[in-house]
Amino acid sequence: MKRLLVLTVVLLAASCAPGPKITPSLATPGKTFDCPFPYPQTKSRFIHAIEVRRGTQAKTAVIGVTLVDPASRSISCALMSAEGMALFEASASPAGLEIGRALPPLDKEGFARNMIDDIEMIFLAPRSASVQKGTLADGAPVCRYRTDDGLLDTVRAGDGTIRLMKYTKNGVLSRSVTLAGGMSDPYAAIELHAPGVFHFSLIMTLIEAGRPDDESLPQDKDAGGVNEKPH
């Protein structure tokens, strides 16, 4: 019984760890670096082929369209089948979320909010201007942002890829994103992994990228927009 209690305490302590430990860059003089900043700095449109996987097994594929405006932090997105059927359309700005279309099973509660949050994580710079720089245990430079939901780590990995790691306030990894193209072409190939009970992965391959017209994005005149590149 005592052992079980100790084990439970250890597991709870581990699950509440505030993300992986980082060594502050101040502790390693001469090793300063710029934070990875793959995010578009003007209004941009991306069209991706998206493969949906559960575990290692591919389940289905759709086409995703994403529009982002970093100045107003506005997002519009759509999912369509290969046949061209629009399955899901939504837009979001700091003023709120609007769902234009959601066919089953994409009409489930929370789907739209989670999708917009994932898009924001991938395509918009962190809101927080406060960043802690350091290195991970493997030596990779990391920039850690405190967010409303927990932590966001942006990592420039040794292989040139960029990794975005999102942790809950309890320190549990909730999303992991790899931008395989690194800084040169960050959105050419994106892998998003969502661990947990309903674990899934999205393998996104860029079909087309460009700049949208102004009418495609939700307007939010009150949005201040925090999009300063941390140095």
Partner: protein, 209 residues
């Protein structure tokens, strides 16, 4: 799932029905159309699909091939930008996608919905185009024949406003299937190289690719 199935059904149905109508392009009414469509044993065609949405600056263009063999075999294949194949034959429907360079079966719920869809499409192949209670159909004659389908019930409310099928009266070929989803969204499918009643290898309806 029902609305998703209904929507996909509508897309595929009008593409298929459009091709059948194309083969009977001289028809002036649905009775003649039904009689002429009954003579069709196979169809093959290339298609280019233009998807218009407000979120897209310019249409998203998809390409592929379509095959039909009476009484109920269908192969609906997209080659780009997203490779996808739907096979339906003898009441058995499968959807395939490409993953890691390999063609694998799509096991999502959408594929199951497609099975329901194509079973119904196959039933319509018998030529009862104007018997679909979900739509009101009308034919307008001119330089081209334009068949307009308008949703009759609430099932398609908010999903489909109307479908226009433009047929050439000069030759047995369809020009366009235009599916209007809203004021800012529509899908246009242009067919080319339509071949009627030429033998199609049965394996095309059994195997992907």
């Amino acid at each position: 799932m029902h609305r998703y199935a209904a929507a996909i059904k509508t897309f595929i149905f009008f593409a298929v029905a459009g091709l059948l109508w194309a083969a009977a392009a001289q028809a002036d009414d649905f009775v003649t159309l039904r009689r002429d469509a009954a003579r069709i044993s196979t169809i093959s065609a290339d298609f280019v699909q233009h998807k218009h949405m407000k979120i897209l600056a310019r249409p998203l263009v998809s390409e592929g091939k379509f095959y039909f063999a009476a009484p109920d075999s269908i192969r609906w294949e997209y080659s780009r930008p997203l490779k996808s194949i739907v096979l339906s034959s003898g009441g058995n429907t499968r959807r395939y996608m490409v993953s890691g360079g390999k063609v694998i079966e799509d096991t999502s719920g959408g594929a199951q919905a497609m099975g329901v869809v194509l079973t119904e499409v196959a039933a319509w192949m018998k030529g009862h185009f104007d018997a679909n209670p979900s739509f009101t159909a009308s034919i307008k004659e001119g330089a081209d024949t334009i068949v307009t389908m308008t949703p009759a019930g609430k099932n398609m409310a908010g999903m489909i406003e109307k479908i226009e099928i433009t047929l050439s009266r000069k030759e047995p070929s369809i020009k366009t299937v235009r599916i209007v989803e809203s004021a800012t969204a529509e899908t246009r499918i242009d067919f080319s190289n339509v071949v009627i009643n030429r033998r199609i290898d049965p394996s095309l309806f059994q195997d992907a690719p």
